[in-house]
């Protein structure tokens, strides 16, 4: 059983290498994005003693650096191709085989994450040497455990959000890409904490956001790592993320079932 998905992992890895240039460009994009955010905040905090939104220069640069690595782990996913597979009818290939489509794509996501994380670590090391930002190494074991748990939940959350958005293609084959752009590129980028830490926002908005799944993708896991949350707050954030994962994974399953009944295996 596991060997099936191990093989999927291997072939997916090879596939990424077939598009070496593509992959390199994707990493370049990530580095550019990092530079953008890094220098934005570097300018805001050009005076090391300035404190804005409760952040000083060191804290914000630590945050930005943490995001670079966490992004590779949480937001790199191959399941963005699902909408295309549904609307082109390529889904047919999987439905004909004794393989679980979710596990298949989750495995491909994991292989993409492994590859991206590897590169992100190399990039981060180079950037670290170049920019010499302050970096914080967490050593508290319970906090690290909470961080690990929150990252796993973040991965599941992103997987289910991505799948839900992609499954729109069952009903609106031509909407797949625009829905993806709206939800993944705009909503997720802004509300996950990828561009700015959520706690610079007004309290009321923070309050609302904390009940949505998005900040649990990057912001909360990073806050846990940086030691910004205390014991009870860590448990609360993990509980909310866990509840959202359960709800979303359940929805993925029921939407999938409804979608399959609608599927016409087109494309020929």
């Amino acid at each position: 059983m596991t060997s099936k998905y191990l093989s999927v992992f291997k072939i997916s890895f090879q596939q990424e290498f077939a598009y070496r240039l593509n992959f390199v460009m994707w990493r370049v994009r990530n580095v550019m994005q990092f530079f953008l955010v890094f220098f934005l905040w570097d300018t805001v905090f050009s005076d090391p003693n300035r404190v804005v939104f409760g952040y000083d220069r060191n804290k914000i640069l630590t945050y930005v650096f943490g995001i670079l690595l966490l992004r590779a782990l949480v937001l790199s996913a191959r399941a963005v191709d699902v909408a295309g597979e549904i609307s082109r009818g390529d889904l047919t290939n999987y439905l004909l085989k004794p393989i679980n489509y979710f596990r298949y794509w989750f495995t491909r996501d994991v292989s993409s994450k492994a590859l991206n994380l590897g590169f992100a670590i190399i990039e981060a090391s180079v950037l670290f040497l170049l920019l010499r930002p302050p970096f914080f190494i967490q050593t508290n074991f319970p906090i690290l455990f909470g961080f690990l748990l929150s990252v796993i939940l973040a991965i599941l959350l992103f997987f289910s959000i991505l799948f839900l958005v992609n499954m729109i293609a069952f009903w609106a084959p031509s909407m797949g890409w625009s829905a993806q752009f709206l939800v993944i590129v705009i909503v997720v980028e802004f509300l996950s904490g990828a561009i700015f830490p959520i706690d610079i926002l007004p309290n009321a908005i923070q309050g609302i956001l904390s009940y949505l799944p998005f900040p649990y993708l990057l912001y909360f896991p990073l806050q846990i790592y940086l030691g910004k949350l205390t014991g009870a707050a860590i448990v609360k954030s993990i509980l909310i993320a866990g509840a959202w994962s359960a709800v979303l994974l359940f929805s993925v399953n029921s939407v999938w079932k409804a979608g399959l009944k609608h599927y016409a295996a087109e494309g020929r």
């Binding site: 072939i11 439905l95 016409a264």
Partner: protein, 342 residues
């Protein structure tokens, strides 16, 4: 399990199968696109309107119908891809829609225009992946792969990136990928589409050989009548979602080939007008003339020709199969073949 024992020599049972599709009509232009977004104009398309047939284990059936007749839709329902609106289907003892792993290991659907090979990798990588997906033992996989590779002569292509292969080469490798797990029930949808004549012939020989060697049940759809004449003894004809004929190919010919074709080569000039009394002149390219005459009087007509005209050469032939099929569709009537008399 109870299902499995039911009618065990039947590989495929279809009863009262109906499939309706809901389609949203898109209007033209930007304004049209917006208006169909706000008030979508939904339409029900009845793709299959209640068909019945059953197929024994090891049979090879030709599935005939014009574009949009419902052939591919039927195959997709039988392989568990799409959900039937109503009716009963059973394939290899399973309900296809459940898509149980045991069922999926028994079947394969080969579409001439769909590919499963990983485009950027050599085909052998897809085969390896299929080996683990279908949970084949290493030895069973090797045996199956070796047989298929030699039957289809693709040994030299296994390690080439799929994107670099020609269509014919790729189709043969697609076949290997689809058959590695030795399916007992096979659906071929237009397997010879886009292939040259040599490749078509090879594909037909392969399908016949696979059917013989593994006692596999095969349904084959094709627009290429050559495929069907060569391969299928029994044919099922459908059009507009209804079953028009189910029976032996020869029965279909008897029912619809009301005429025979007489080709004559004249050694001297003749009066064309007087030919009209014998049969309908279909083609005139003197000294070659093609006549069509009623089936029952073909022999008489030939004798008359030989007696009264300067005939150099004469042959009597069946109507081309395309012509017969066209008549079936044009009539739109349901003909009782031996198989669907229940």
């Amino acid at each position: 399990m109870a299902d499995k024992n039911r009618d065990s020599e039947k590989a495929i049972i279809v009863e009262g199968l109906v499939k309706n599709f809901e389609v949203v009509e898109k209007k033209q232009g930007i304004i049209g696109a917006f208006s169909s977004l706000i008030s979508p104009n939904k339409k029900i398309v009845k793709a299959i309107k209640g068909i019945n047939f059953s197929i024994d284990r090891g049979e090879l059936i030709g599935f005939i119908g014009p574009n949009g007749a419902g052939k591919t839709t039927t195959l997709k329902i039988l392989s568990g891809l799409i959900y039937p609106t109503s009716g009963f289907t059973q394939v290899a003892g399973f309900n296809p829609w459940d898509r149980k792993p045991e069922f999926l290991k028994e079947i394969s659907l080969v579409m001439g225009q769909k590919n499963q090979l990983w485009w950027d990798l050599p085909a052998i990588e897809t085969f390896e992946l299929n080996r683990v997906i279908y949970e084949l033992s290493k030895s069973a996989y090797k045996k199956s792969l070796n047989e298929l590779v030699s039957l289809l002569e693709v040994g030299k292509l296994l390690n080439t990136q799929v994107r670099r292969l020609s269509l014919g080469q790729r189709m043969r490798l697609e076949l290997v990928a689809a058959l590695l797990h030795r399916p007992k029930v096979l659906f071929f949808d237009e397997p010879t589409i886009g292939l040259d004549l040599v490749a078509q012939q090879r594909m037909r020989e392969f399908i016949a050989e696979y059917n013989r060697r593994y006692k596999a049940t095969i349904i084959l759809t094709s627009h290429n009548m050559g495929d069907l004449v060569d391969l299928a003894k029994r044919v099922i004809v459908i059009d507009k979602g209804r079953l028009l004929f189910d029976g032996e190919f020869s029965e279909l010919v008897d029912n619809f080939a009301k005429e025979k074709i007489i080709k004559v080569f004249f050694s001297k000039g003749i009066d064309i007008k007087s030919l009209e009394t014998i049969g309908k002149v279909k083609k005139l390219d003197f000294p070659n003339v093609v006549l069509s005459v009623a089936r029952t009087t073909a022999a008489v007509a030939a004798a008359e020709l030989l007696q009264n005209f300067p005939v150099g050469d004469l042959t009597i032939e069946e109507e081309p199969i395309e012509e017969i099929i066209r008549k079936v569709f044009r009539s739109g009537k349901v003909i009782k073949g031996r198989k669907n008399t229940k």
